[in-house]
């Protein structure tokens, strides 16, 4: 019985992304956000700041809808075209790990807030849209939380997350540019990898 249940559960996890990916971008953002919030609100470990569990949640529920290579290219800027395929792969892996961790921390911090979905302005045939949401905080102005998505082979992928007007991706541009001008693309890879290792070591 137990194994049957876990098999069913496993199937659900495998099938869920496929189902959500066929949705319109705004519906997809809403479904993924609500899925994640439902888990966070029930999970005492995540609420008490268990980063490892929050990262697992972000990896399984959120990552499939993100285009990390595009995000990395945006953060790196012009130099991206000069990187070798191997460098691009390494950069994307390391930057993905950093972004997933940042997102997971945000999940923990804002666990009690309600998210409101704004009507999206989207025309048929659009392949690049911004879906606007708001995190409601009692006693304060809501925080704008926007997702930029692009259509890729029939499904929508997030390539930027913008919090209160701050792009979590392009906010790294100056830092990355400076590191690359000092130590090249390999220097940048090392910098992000070291940061990830340091965060991993300090993890609860």
């Amino acid at each position: 019985m137990k194994s049957l249940l876990s098999l069913l559960f496993g199937l659900l996890i495998v099938l869920a992304p496929a189902a959500a990916q066929d949705l319109a971008p705004d519906a997809m953002v809403q479904q993924v956000t609500e899925d994640v919030l439902t888990v966070v609100r029930q999970d005492k470990d995540i609420q008490s700041g268990n980063t490892r569990k929050a990262i697992e949640l972000a990896e399984t529920k959120v990552s499939p809808y993100f285009n990390f290579q595009r995000m990395t290219a945006l953060a790196v800027g012009r130099e991206w075209s000069k990187a070798t395929p191997e460098q691009k792969k390494r950069l994307t892996e390391e930057f993905k790990a950093l972004l997933v961790r940042t997102y997971s921390n945000a999940l923990i911090s804002y666990k009690n807030q309600k998210v409101v979905y704004k009507p999206s302005k989207m025309a048929a045939g659009d392949t690049d849209v911004v879906v606007k949401t708001e995190v409601v905080q009692p006693g304060n102005k809501p925080i704008q939380l926007d997702y930029a998505l692009e259509k890729q082979g029939g499904s929508w992928k997030v390539y930027d997350v913008i919090v209160a007007g701050v792009s979590l991706v392009t906010n790294y541009r100056d830092t990355f540019k400076q590191e690359m001008s000092n130590n090249g693309i390999d220097g940048l890879i090392t910098m992000i990898a070291n940061k990830n290792k340091q965060l991993e070591a300090g993890k609860k």
């Binding site: 290219a73 940042t102 945000a106 923990i108 911090s109 102005k141 701050v166 100056d174 830092t175």
Partner: protein
């Protein structure tokens, strides 16, 4: 009060002049941050002050029940809404200005002195404007970036905006009360409440940033541009074609 403010504004202006004069002595490498040396020093001062301020904010955040925090936020928010209305009017956004006046009237009366945000529940959206945004809307450029002690990051434009904001700020003004002790309590409470609302962002910035100063500066600049455009700034198109 007047003399306090003018002293403060004078010292700020003097500081700005001093920095401008010593511009060549700074470690300028970033065109939007020509006074990076000074700014990093002030950033360090603020991080030092935060060693005291943050635990107070954390204590407040942990021990004050949510309704108390909401009431505090609403009360100061209602005072600010009046200034938001003026700024929306100055920016030519009549509809928003009228809505903001409505918010203040409703929340000050039905909302018992602004402690309850009834207006939001009635569908009058809260806006947040300040004089720096108004200057931005009028086309005033940002100017060099500064990191000030206590007040934190501001562009040159927003530094002047902040001076005007502070000058009209009812919390600082004697016309609300002649009681200096009460005024100081209000200013202090608002500051701690503001710091407490920023607590969740601390951990995120700690983990996300390679260099806290750069991360906060760049985020502040993006955030203010977004505010000037009331969140309607078109999503930036990459300046190159991403390829695999």
């Amino acid at each position: 009060m007047k003399s306090y403010l003018s002293t403060r504004i004078c010292s700020l202006a003097c500081a700005a002049a001093l920095i401008a004069a010593s511009g060549c002595a700074t470690t300028a490498s970033n065109p939007k941050d020509p006074f990076e040396g000074f700014n990093r020093a002030m950033f360090a001062v603020n991080e030092g002050l935060d060693v005291v301020v943050k635990p107070v904010a954390q204590g407040y955040d942990n021990f004050a029940p949510l309704p108390v925090k909401v009431i505090v936020g609403n009360f100061f928010g209602n005072l600010w809404d009046a200034w938001t209305a003026v700024n929306n009017a100055l920016q030519g956004k009549g509809g928003e200005a009228v809505s903001d006046v409505g918010r203040v009237l409703i929340n000050s009366t039905l909302g018992i002195g602004g402690t309850f945000d009834i207006a939001s529940e009635m569908g009058l959206t809260k806006h947040s404007e300040d004089f720096g945004q108004t200057l931005g809307k009028w086309g005033v450029g940002e100017g060099p970036f500064f990191f000030w002690p206590i007040i934190g990051p501001r562009t040159t434009r927003d530094t002047f905006g902040w001076m005007v904001d502070t000058y009209v700020d009812p919390v600082w003004h004697a016309w609300i009360t002649d009681d200096m002790a009460l005024r100081n309590i209000m200013v202090g409470t608002r500051y701690i409440n503001l710091r407490a609302t920023l607590l969740p962002a601390d951990k995120v910035v700690d983990d996300a940033a390679f260099d806290r100063y750069t991360y906060i500066r760049d985020a502040y600049l993006q955030h203010r541009r977004n505010e000037v455009f009331d969140g309607e700034l078109p999503h930036q198109v990459p300046d190159y074609e991403p390829s695999d």
